[in-house]
Amino acid sequence: MKIENATAQMRKGVLEYYILSLIFKKDLYTSEILVSLKKGKMLVVEGTVYPLLSRLKNVKLLTYRWEESSSGPPRKYYSITPEGKTFLIDLESAWKELNKAVNIITKSKIRYNEQNR
């Protein structure tokens, strides 16, 4: 199994959580979302984001509006809906639990290695 595949799966799993958290902080337009995702090394290809945003919008976790921009074409600004906020809170607690569980296992593995040295 390739390490790239495993990490891609990990990223894919938290991508929704990441995007919702991002938009929760501030309304963003698509290119800004892309920039942040790239900075966080969350993306392999940009194309992944468009169907995901569309899906989040279809299940009403996100909405969007058009805004004129001083340079270039109008921008599509995404914002989070009340449903989206509730969903995000649930995701957050799930993530914290997962994080804790994974941390316990990974830490104990390191300690185990040290004891056996």
């Binding site: 894919k12 698509t30 290809v45 468009y50 569309s54 899906r55 074409p73």
Partner: protein, 224 residues
């Protein structure tokens, strides 16, 4: 010497050379096929188109810059091939399994009358010639009444219209790789002809040919 094509992406005007245009066109078609079953397909494609325009705008060095193949390749690298988009996998696999089945279609790309013979040929994996010979033989033996059966089959069997239909007709699973191959095949077929003509001219003459064929078919069809 290279021809350039004028295109309009998300209401932004671009000049693009012919080779690059072909690559871009194929990429857009592939995207369309990828999202053909997705909710909000138009919106997704619209946004991707806008993003392509943004990326092209960034590679435009001056006002009369012509987008070339390198720019298109770079754009595709950034956006990624549709296979790498990581769409939800489960519903997709279900769909491909379903469409693996072979279906009976009329093959109007390879036809003398209505494509019934070649369609049946595809279905039973035999050469269309044998089906046609059998039909002609049966028509003679039945004193012409078998022509009516041909006519009924013509009416009942749907025409293979989309690329997916054409793949199903031959029993190929409908997935991106096969559809891409199909597009390429079609493209090579018309490439020769289009090379001589302007794109718009070619479009209008194709329409005329289609119209002519339709008239021809009408005059051949038995009037009952």
């Amino acid at each position: 010497m290279n021809k350039t094509v004028n295109i309009n992406l998300a209401s932004t005007f671009f000049q693009i050379d012919e080779e690059a245009y072909k690559v871009l066109n194929q990429y857009l078609k592939k995207l369309e096929i990828t999202f053909s079953e997705t909710d909000g397909k138009e919106e997704i494609l619209e946004e991707i188109e806008a993003r392509i325009a943004e990326l092209f705008q960034a590679s435009k060095k001056h006002n009369h810059y012509v987008i070339n193949q390198d720019d298109v390749t770079k754009m595709i690298e950034t956006l990624g091939e549709p296979e790498d988009f990581n769409l939800e996998e489960e519903p997709q696999t279900r769909k491909t399994q379903k469409s693996n089945e072979k279906k009976l279609f009329r093959d109007t790309d390879d036809c003398y009358i209505g494509g019934v013979g070649s369609g049946i040929g595809h279905y039973f994996v035999i050469y269309a010639v044998w089906v046609r010979l059998l039909f002609i033989l049966l028509t003679f033996l039945s004193g012409g009444s078998f022509a009516l059966i041909y006519w009924i089959l013509w009416v009942l069997i749907p025409k293979a219209e989309s690329r997916a239909d054409k793949l199903k007709m031959k029993g190929d699973p409908v997935n991106i790789v096969n559809i891409e191959r199909k597009i390429k095949e079609e493209f090579d077929d018309v490439k020769e002809k289009i090379n001589q003509l302007d794109y718009d001219q070619a479009k209008s003459s194709l329409k005329k040919i289609k119209k002519f064929l339709r008239l021809l078919r009408k005059s051949f069809s038995p009037s009952t």
